[in-house]
């Protein structure tokens, strides 16, 4: 069977309307990022597989192929690793910390028959070469401002910190295997099995580890976590998180913030503060990010970094639900004969300048143009003949 009329699984066309909605989002994000001093970077679609080997992505989730020498290439599944590759080798260290933004497709294989997109557009920022409190705040402020720039309001940015789990695991479990098991259970908020594991195997002060899946919600979570913290490492982590949270509140962002100390999903990738963005009415996380201070070691550098990526396709779906179906008020300019086109072009530019969507008619006769407009495609036809223009309106059934 020839497959020339369909797309492969996980690949989608973006039709007019959808495509322009998505492009709008990208433009708005670009403006938001640029306003905060970020510069654009683009990286190749195809990279060596080795670039991503430190990113903790399962091999089977990547699109891999071979180059002419039999080396493995990957369609980039993530943008952060390529950006660190560039920062570690190609940029002038004098310019550190680098503030970079990107808007690129990433490719990941999803389970078949799941209607998930394998090619999604990610827009995001990375601050490379800056550790500490101020960079943590800057990246979250940028995330919140990005959502606001899109006109979104029903969103939450949820903060967590990988260090809290690490500090608890270190004093509660004496083997990597046990702490890995605990991490999976915390990630899934599997209260029952976690308390069972803690009961049986944990040593020392086990209260904090046992209640980790419940430590999510508002600011009160931080106070609870502080009182449960069994050692100074865990306390320091919470104090750092509190400092960031309080500063963000003083900037007026409190209603967008929440806390989840059970955000432990990519523990070997992230090293500090992590965060996620949720949107009302969408079942998926639409923004994820955090601090990854050790990833650059894979590229021979020591660059403390933080950043986030926004899933533009999911945002487009969310915005499409509220967007008006058709852009009303399109105008069709129909010229009667060749000598009328000059006048028609003038009409078109003045409409364009007034911000009215308009286009030149491709129909051979006025009646065809009017029939098209009657079908709902246009609300007005401007007919130009002998240097004069006549206007036909088709808004509320008025036909003149």
């Amino acid at each position: 069977m020839r497959n020339n009329k369909i797309t492969p699984v996980g690949m989608f066309d973006m039709l007019p309307g959808e495509a322009s909605l998505k492009r709008n989002i990208e433009e708005q994000l670009k403006t938001a990022f640029t306003r905060r001093g970020f510069c654009e970077i683009t990286t190749p679609t195809l990279e060596f597989y080795d670039v991503f080997s430190a990113s903790q992505l399962p091999q089977e989730s990547m699109y891999n192929l071979f180059d002419a020498q039999g080396r493995i290439l990957s369609l980039r599944p993530d943008v952060t690793a390529p950006i660190l590759r560039v920062c570690a080798g190609k940029l002038d260290p004098q310019l550190m910390p680098y503030r970079l933004w990107y808007c690129q497709q990433v490719f990941r294989r999803n389970k078949a028959l799941n209607a998930r997109r394998d090619e999604i557009t990610q827009c995001g920022v990375e601050i490379v070469g800056a550790g500490g409190f101020r960079a943590d705040v800057e990246v979250i402020v940028t995330a919140i401002e990005s959502f606001l720039a899109l006109g979104l309001d029903g969103f939450k940015i949820e903060l967590g910190h990988i260090g809290y789990f690490k500090a608890l695991a270190e004093c509660s479990f004496d083997s990597k295997e046990l702490s890995d098991r605990a991490r999976t259970l915390v990630e899934r908020k599997d209260f029952a099995q976690l308390s069972d594991l803690v009961e049986r195997h944990a040593i020392g002060d086990r209260r904090a580890m046992g209640s980790l899946p419940t430590l999510f919600g508002g600011k009160e979570v931080l106070d609870e976590a502080l009182s449960l913290a069994p050692n100074s490492d865990a306390k320091a982590v919470i104090l750092h998180l509190k400092e960031v949270y309080d500063l963000l509140c003083s900037l007026g962002y409190e209603k967008y913030l929440s806390i989840d100390l059970g955000l432990v999903h990519a523990i070997d990738y992230y090293t500090g503060l992590v965060f996620r963005g949720y949107l009302k009415g969408l079942g998926d996380v639409v923004l994820s990010g955090g601090r990854y201070d050790t990833l650059s070691e894979a590229f021979g550098a020591g660059l403390p970094s933080t950043g986030f990526a926004i899933d533009v396709d999911s945002i487009a779906i969310a915005l499409k639900k509220n967007a008006p179906q058709k852009s009303a008020g399109r105008v069709l300019v129909h010229c009667h004969a060749a000598e009328d086109f000059k006048r028609g072009e003038e009409e078109l530019s003045s409409l364009f300048e007034a911000g009215v969507p308009a286009e030149m008619s491709l129909f051979d006769s006025l009646s065809e143009a009017i029939n098209k407009a009657k079908s709902g495609a246009f609300s007005r036809v401007v007919f130009i003949s002998d240097g004069k223009s006549e206007i036909y309106e088709f808004g509320g059934g008025k036909d003149e």
Binding site: R188, F191, A192, P213, S258, G283, D284
Partner: protein, 206 residues
Amino acid sequence: MSKLRIALTKGRVEKDIVKLLSRAGLDMTPLIEKGRKLIIQAGDYEFVLAKAPDVITYVEHGVCDAGIVGKDTIMENGGSFYEVLDFKTGVCSFCVAGLPDTQLYSDYRQIKIASKYPNVAKRYFNERNLDVDIIKIEGSVELAPLLELSDAIVDIVETGSTLKENGLVVLERMYDISARLIVNTVSMKLKKDEVTELTSLVKTAL
């Protein structure tokens, strides 16, 4: 407006959960008298009746906030969601079963396992560093070793009576399973109070 939309596995899980939630004080009569309806309002909750693997799909995609499904289905299908509560109903276990004199590991030949749960079977043997051939069977898996298609089977065993009547025995107990409450990752955060209310309600009946 319902507080939560919950996908509920049709059949035995449904029966157990209806009993349990009635015990917790929820009026479940709309579910008992549901006829052929698939979406049923009961108190503050909207229940969606679905086949077990579909419960996971609905929750993962976020069209249902929560789901009630057996651990067996969760283990076979995986997915990303929160698994917050063990209902401790429908308790049974995954087992390796076969003819009484089966020696699975004594030979150099490749072991053949028939199962309705190929992922669970593969994971179990891979965890033990054993390569096995898995044959997917859709039902009455007990036939496979009897017809000498496989050396053993991986299946859910509750009382063991089907095995016994066909002359098979449990060779190894693998994992315990029961019905679980799963929650969509976003609903967990944006509807935290509603989810907490549901879990504490269930806990009163456990």
